[in-house]
């Protein structure tokens, strides 16, 4: 996942690399997503998560489009 200063720079990047468009989130949205996503990574009990658990985290932070679902 790459960082951009603005939508304008993303458009330039798409055009220069001839890439299909992905999903763009603000840094604040990604910060809110990071909290539940990474919270327990250092725990011995963390063994990964199921697709359903991942989708639940996306839902919690308002990511409801098809991009965020299996």
């Amino acid at each position: 996942m790459l960082l951009f200063r603005s939508e304008e720079w993303i458009e330039k990047w798409y055009k220069r690399n001839n890439l299909e468009r992905g999903e763009v989130l603000t840094i604040n949205q990604v910060w809110e997503l990071s909290k539940p996503w990474y919270d327990n990574r250092l725990s011995l009990e963390y063994h990964g998560r199921s697709v359903e658990e991942a989708e639940e985290i996306f839902r919690q932070v308002g990511l409801n489009s098809a991009f965020w679902h299996m």
Binding site: M1, F4, I10, V24, T26, I27, L42, H47, F67, W68
Partner: protein, 154 residues
Amino acid sequence: MSNDTLLWQIRHFVYQHFADTTLPPGVDESALHFHISTEEAGEYYKELNNRHAFFLEPDTFSVRMAWPFSAVPTDFIVHANGKTYYANCAWDMLGIPVVLKSDAVMEAVCTESNETVQLEIKDGQITNHQSTNYQLLIHFPLPFTRWYHNLIFT
């Protein structure tokens, strides 16, 4: 290799080593820590790689990614707890202070403009140290269904 408890203990050791030192342990270091042979530790490393618990450099036992940590320098730098970490991507950069449960100062490069931006996490709040008249954005190139197809690109 048949010990699931040891498998997850090794995963935990790798992550804790990353957090403590900014780098992953070598497979020989893990072997020594758990009093097993290097070959056996290598089998556990391969199994953890297969289960996406971390990502090995192809055809090696070197841990390249234990999300959010990167073993190789990247454009996403995190200063926290008096240490400097590398993250695999912009999202992982924000994950490091969450994992460490600490404040952090982060430096990242805008992919297209090449401008370096500085961010800070303090008391759970994120601050953009650049001019506040623009909102930094993070691009997710692939939908969730394809995240594990090409981990380096993702």
